[in-house]
């Protein structure tokens, strides 16, 4: 698991490269300008209107929307942050105390049974999907077959206590969402694992680099200092993802006209497609995505929310970047398609079932 921080850094890198990079200095400059402007506009609002009537009027229309935007944005952050702290904490402690070799030893011999057990491994290794990639790599290096590793990789981010707790709390008004999420993720992961087990020589899907890596042994870092740094790095990664997710969630609620939201969100098929697409693009982690989905819960169909919650942790832009370290591209394309179709099916089941 030594590569956890490293691979997460890679995934962070990739996300960053998608958007044009700007220097931190500019970040601070922009932050200051925006803050001063907004402060002026809210606190000295009367003064501004006095000086330029036209602009002031336009501002009077947009200002409440900006404030709602900020309130919603901060509400996602304040709500999700304690769950993220808890999740990172547990994940760091697990890496400190739980040995994957021991877990591995207790697995049954039957491959079908093994896959089922492996999809519940997330209960003991509650790391989010970013952290699962290095775990899966480690498991394969220790001899787990490809279908088994893929089943673990797909199921573990959803079937783990932190994700279930966060979803349960977020959707306290509709408990069925959480149940559907867990059942759906289990089904999709099992089906894909089963299909893969019929592929001859599944090692073909692995990259050459990773096959070489498998020959080397991994050893575990175990010191409190290392754990503390791991906490810091994971928190940093999560926080920035959280802020991005919160901005997008709040912006759709405030700035997208409600007629459009009502039309798309109310359609049983269109809403699923929209949420799957959204989940694929924004790439937020499974420990916080429930609070993100909450922003759409009242306007979008339950099925679309469930398919977002099932597919989101399994595959998105960030996960693809991470998985490319291990799997070949053609396989990843087929995998993505299978996951999206599977989650679409789960969504339909919820909407029409």
């Amino acid at each position: 698991m030594k590569n956890l921080a490293l691979v997460c850094q890679e995934c962070q890198w990739f996300t960053i490269n998608l958007v044009k990079r700007a220097g931190l200095k500019w970040g601070i400059v922009i932050a200051t300008i925006v803050a001063v402007n907004v402060w002026l506009a809210t606190h000295q609002f009367e003064v501004m209107r006095f000086y330029n009537g036209g602009f002031g009027e336009a501002w009077a229309n947009i200002a409440p929307k900006l404030q709602d935007f900020l309130t919603l944005l901060l509400s996602v952050i304040v709500e999700a942050l304690p769950f993220i702290i808890l999740g990172v904490l547990v994940s760091v402690l697990v890496q400190r105390f739980v040995s994957t070799e021991k877990l591995f030893r207790y697995l049954p011999k039957n491959t079908h049974l093994r896959r089922i057990i492996l999809s519940f491994l997330g209960v003991f290794l509650p790391v989010c999907e970013c952290g699962n990639v290095p775990v899966a790599r480690g498991l394969m290096a220790k001899g787990l077959s490809v279908p088994e590793a893929v089943t673990f990789l797909l199921a573990a981010p959803v079937i783990n206590p932190i994700t279930i707790l966060a979803t349960w709390e977020a959707f306290s008004f509709d408990r069925s969402i959480t149940i559907w999420r867990v059942v759906g993720a289990f089904l999709v992961a099992q089906l894909i694992g089963l299909a893969l087990s019929y592929v001859k020589r599944p090692e073909r899907v692995l990259t050459d680099e990773f096959q070489a890596y498998c020959k080397e042994a991994t050893h575990t870092h175990r010191s409190w200092k290392y754990s503390a740094y791991l906490y810091r790095d994971e928190m940093w990664l999560m926080l920035r993802m959280l802020v991005l997710g919160a901005v997008i969630a709040a912006a759709t609620q405030v700035f997208i006209p409600r007629d459009i939201l009502a039309t798309v969100g109310g359609d049983p098929i269109l809403s699923i497609i929209a949420m799957l697409l959204l989940g694929f693009i924004i790439s937020i982690c499974s420990s916080m995505d429930a609070f993100f989905a909450l922003a759409y819960a009242k306007t979008f169909t339950s099925g679309s929310i469930v398919s977002f919650l099932v597919a989101g942790p399994m595959v998105d832009i960030k996960m693809l970047a991470l998985l490319k370290t291990t799997f070949r591209l053609p396989f990843l394309i087929i995998l993505t398609a299978a996951i999206l179709i599977g989650s679409f099916g789960v969504g339909l089941l919820v909407n029409y079932g």
Binding site: K25, G27, I30, A31, D68, L74, E79, R240, A262
Partner: protein, 247 residues
């Protein structure tokens, strides 16, 4: 140090909100204790890393600068600089897709016209109710036409101007947001109040306490809603917990 500074700042932000009693602007009160505890834990871990590093040099060595980091900083600065503001009228409009007003959402019709009252028969509802959500639930549970007519109620909320949605200009909406987890899932709820001169005395977004009697009225061809009439309206300061929260 940059990473750590941001993590510490977020913990401090939560503790600041908690100290000022503003956490409920963002989240359901049932999370307050958990949120504060986790913020303290995170702060403790971050500070221990700081102490471990105290002998190292304190060069401000930031990780890869990026748009995401900039976004993080902007949000942090805004969070600290701006006073917390609960969702108000502007959000009522945007979230009107899932609003519940006057007891009848999505055109539910009260069909039974038999005389009678709801006081006794509405099972599971304990009068007097003190929240808008409680009343809306009571209206829903009782399908006797005008079963609550004449019942006197006292409710608190903010003034929302329903503009063109109504026939009468004498009516404003006593409004509140209903929160089940956090402000993101807030949905507007409200009751109409009949008060001819409300515009002069109670501007939109001002907080008021309304005391009055319920009366079921017809709006348009197929809409019946409860309205508060003979209202006595007093301005109040913004409540500590600005929303109504799911129990």
């Amino acid at each position: 140090m940059g990473k750590l500074a941001v993590i510490i700042a977020f913990s401090l932000y939560i503790l600041k909100l908690a100290a000022e009693g503003d956490l409920t602007v963002y989240i359901h009160p049932r999370y307050v204790a958990f949120t504060v505890t986790m913020a303290l834990v995170s702060l403790a871990i971050s500070l221990s890393i700081l102490i471990m590093n105290r002998r190292k040099h304190f060069a401000l060595r930031l990780t890869r600068p990026s748009i995401l980091t900039a976004l993080c900083l902007v949000v942090l600065v805004l969070a600290f600089v701006l006073p917390p503001r609960p969702l108000m009228s502007s959000a009522v409009e945007q979230k009107s897709n899932n609003a519940r007003v006057g007891g009848l959402s999505s055109g539910k019709l009260v069909t039974s016209s038999s005389a009678g009252t709801c006081r006794e028969e509405a099972a599971g509802i304990e009068l007097p109710l003190t929240t808008i959500d409680g009343w809306l639930t009571a209206f829903y549970a009782c399908d006797v036409d005008g079963g609550f007519n004449g019942h006197r109620i006292t409710l608190e909320g903010f003034v929302y101007d329903p503009r063109g949605q109504l026939v009468s200009d004498n009516i404003f909406q006593l409004s509140r947001f209903f929160v089940s987890c956090c402000a993101v899932d807030a949905s507007p709820i409200g009751l109409y109040v009949d008060e001819p001169n409300w515009r002069d005395e109670h501007p939109a977004d001002s907080w008021v306490r309304v005391e009055g009697a319920l009366e079921m009225r017809q709006f348009g061809a197929d809409k019946k809603m409860y309205v508060i009439k003979d209202a006595h309206i007093t301005p109040i300061p913004e409540p500590d917990d600005p929303y109504e929260y799911m129990r």
